[in-house]
């Protein structure tokens, strides 16, 4: 893992002191709310429906046990005993007091964490594949580049007041698990025939009220050119991006309005101009960063563990969990464990302080001290010996963290919605809970196969509903919540934006509607065909027919 150097430490501590002073000045009235609001937002502190909410950055979703333990302490000491992991691989605490916020930030600084740039029109937390550095299919660990981008984008003086917020995702795998086509900038690693690294630069993707897929500006940008090229992209956006209308201020709108070729020409011209010759990636610096992400000291083990096989044969519940929650590791004898934060009827992404401590303990004992947060709002133990999987599962089971549903109907992405969020137009969590209960039967979930159900409680789309295989958007009309359903979205390699099926449903009707959609799929699917593949083959008509033919 990346460790702060002396400069990082000093900077974060000074920032805490600065915010402590700002908070005191707000509390004693020296600063008005209008003056203070941008300052607290720069430190991740929002005022939400019930209280202040603190959004803490988890760079590229990587946490040490020590950091996870500190989050558990914060949950218990300053919040109400739980936290919410988000679709940006961050964590949010919902019940924070302003007067405690400086102490919380000081606690975070002591474990090399902060909440800087988790709000505002700046470059937000860089996200990546939650299996980075572990996945069997990976070309290279994307985290050194993600860390490089974090350092480059942190308090970058030129990019601190962009037209609108800016999100970057990076993947080092040919199978995109980081949703790079729906980010402002998505970076995808390729190797050329000589084995050299190059990055595909995808720009102008995004969700929100105007969902769009990004376009590829460069197919293979040499790694050494990465920062210089991204600075050219950012500079063009900063100059041309709209500031007159916040709904048209994201880079996706600009790319769309200019057209891809015109935008590319602007970027290439800016890049050729090279106003600052020092923006190349310093090879030595990247190597220094990469050293922090060197693979841990894996033991030399057989590819498959006999012990793991024996436990699967003996214990059907363990076998089922292994099938859905354990993924192939790059190193023989190891596995990746996905910990589902989606128990039947639970709140997606929520974890109690005790559960956080349990995961920290498991990471320390069994996963080289590492935990990951996925943008699906789950946790990951990236490096577990197959021999240890049974022990890990037993502990997860004891903590209520053994839901065997990764990538299936119960593994629902949900934003906090109107239960917590002041921007929301409808509740999303109760809908997720009702669907989760409806599809509680794990055998049925396994039979349905890969299915991503994503729910957002407003058009801002924090729940990524546009790219759910089934997407649900909560809206409100005359004080009554209703839900619009889309199908066919995906954030994976062949990314797509879902198609709206028709008029909305009340919250109570949604589980039935989802069941109808799923049953329609089951009736028409071909051998081995997933829900998404079936949607792409038959289009939305059969689903519309099934949903609306008997209505009215």
């Amino acid at each position: 893992m990346y460790r702060y150097d002396q400069f990082d430490h000093q900077f974060v501590v000074e920032r805490v002191d600065q915010f402590r002073d700002q908070t005191l000045r707000r509390l004693n009235g020296d600063l008005s709310e209008d003056e203070f609001k941008p300052l607290r937002l720069m430190n991740g502190l929002y005022l939400q429906l019930h209280a202040y909410m603190l959004r803490i950055a988890i760079p590229y979703g990587t946490l040490s046990s020590r950091q996870m333990l500190r989050l558990a302490d914060i949950a218990e000491r300053y919040d109400r005993g739980y936290g919410h992991f988000t679709t940006r691989q961050n964590i949010q605490f919902n019940w924070i007091a302003l007067e405690d916020a400086p102490d919380i930030l000081a606690d975070l600084a002591s474990v090399e964490m902060h909440a800087i740039q988790t709000s505002g029109n700046c470059i937000r937390n860089v996200t990546t594949d939650h299996w980075a550095g572990a996945a069997a299919d990976e070309l290279a660990d994307p985290r050194p580049v993600a860390e490089l981008l974090r350092q480059w984008s942190s308090l970058h003086p030129e990019f601190s007041f962009l037209p609108r917020k800016f999100k970057i995702a990076v993947t080092g795998s040919p199978h995109d698990r980081a949703a790079v086509r729906v980010h402002d900038i998505g970076l995808r690693l390729h190797l050329n025939e000589a084995g050299e690294k190059g990055w595909e630069v995808v720009v102008g993707g995004g969700l929100g009220r105007t969902p769009m897929l990004g376009v590829t500006l460069r197919e293979f940008l040499p790694e050494a050119e990465l920062l210089g090229y991204l600075e050219a992209v950012m500079r063009v956006y900063n100059l041309i991006g709209r500031r007159d209308n916040k709904y048209k201020a994201r880079i996706k709108i600009m790319v769309h309005e200019m057209g891809m070729e015109a935008f590319r020409a602007e970027v290439e011209a800016e890049y050729a101009r090279q106003p600052k010759p020092s923006t190349g990636v310093d090879g030595a610096e990247l190597e220094r960063i990469a050293a922090y992400f060197a693979p841990p000291a894996f033991e030399k083990l057989p590819r498959w563990s006999a012990d793991y096989r024996a436990h699967r044969a003996k214990d059907p519940a363990f076998a089922r969990w292994s099938k859905s929650n354990v993924a192939a590791h790059a190193c023989d004898g190891y596995a990746i464990v996905d910990i589902s934060l989606k128990p039947e009827g639970g709140i997606p992404g929520d974890a109690t302080a005790q559960q956080m401590r349990a995961v920290a303990d498991l990471a320390q004992r069994y996963s080289f001290d590492e935990v990951r947060v996925s943008h699906h709002q789950n946790l990951v133990l990236p490096h577990v010996r197959q021999d240890d999987l049974y022990a890990v599962w037993q502990r997860l089971k004891a903590e209520g963290l053994d839901a065997a549903n990764i990538g299936q109907a119960g593994d629902i992405i949900s934003c906090p919605g109107l239960d917590y969020c002041s921007l929301a137009t409808a509740r999303s969590i109760p809908v997720a809970q009702a669907i989760s209960r409806r599809f509680a039967d794990l055998n049925r979930q396994a039979d349905i196969g890969p299915l991503r159900i994503n729910i957002s409680g407003c058009i801002n789309a924090c729940g990524h509903h546009h790219v759910g295989h089934i997407g649900i958007l909560g809206l409100e009309k005359k004080g009554v919540e209703f839900y619009q359903i889309t199908i066919g979205g995906s954030s994976a390699n062949e990314a797509s934006i879902g198609t709206i099926l028709g008029p909305g449903f009340s919250g109570d009707e949604v589980p039935d509607a989802i069941e109808t959609i799923v049953n329609t799929y089951l009736a028409l699917r071909q051998e081995g065909e997933t829900f998404l593949d079936a949607c792409r083959r038959v289009g939305s008509e059969p689903f519309k027919e099934a949903l609306y033919a008997t209505r009215h």
């Binding site: 509740r427 969590i429 919540e481």
Partner: protein, 107 residues
């Protein structure tokens, strides 16, 4: 026979703690909407707004605004679902509910 009155209450967030409060009939800020002063007339509504501005200026609360409510048998409940959730707490965490009644299911 119960009568239903409709009016407005003043709500805000406590500056230091961030929790939801209502301007009560006794002039203090209360976390119970049932204790809120319900303004039925435009003059009373204006008075509430003035109190909100004063309390913000005095750094007691932040984000003060008026909420439409119904008062029925001494109980006060906002009309809009957003404000109901704000009064009652997250509907998905009954253990954190600020008020037990009415049932969260009735939202």
């Amino acid at each position: 026979m119960s009568t239903i009155e409709t009016g407005k209450v003043l709500t805000a967030s406590l500056l230091a703690g961030g929790t939801v409060v209502f301007l009560a009939r006794n002039g203090r800020w209360s976390d119970s909407v049932d204790e809120a002063a319900v303004a039925l007339e435009p003059v009373a509504v204006e008075a509430l707004e003035r109190r909100g501005r004063e309390a913000e200026a005095a750094n007691v609360v932040t984000g003060a605004y008026l909420v439409e409510v119904e008062r029925r048998e001494g109980r006060v409940l906002p009309v809009h679902i957003r404000e109901r959730i704000r009064v009652l707490g997250p509907s998905v965490r009954p253990d954190l509910a600020l008020r037990v009644e009415p049932a969260l299911a009735e939202l």
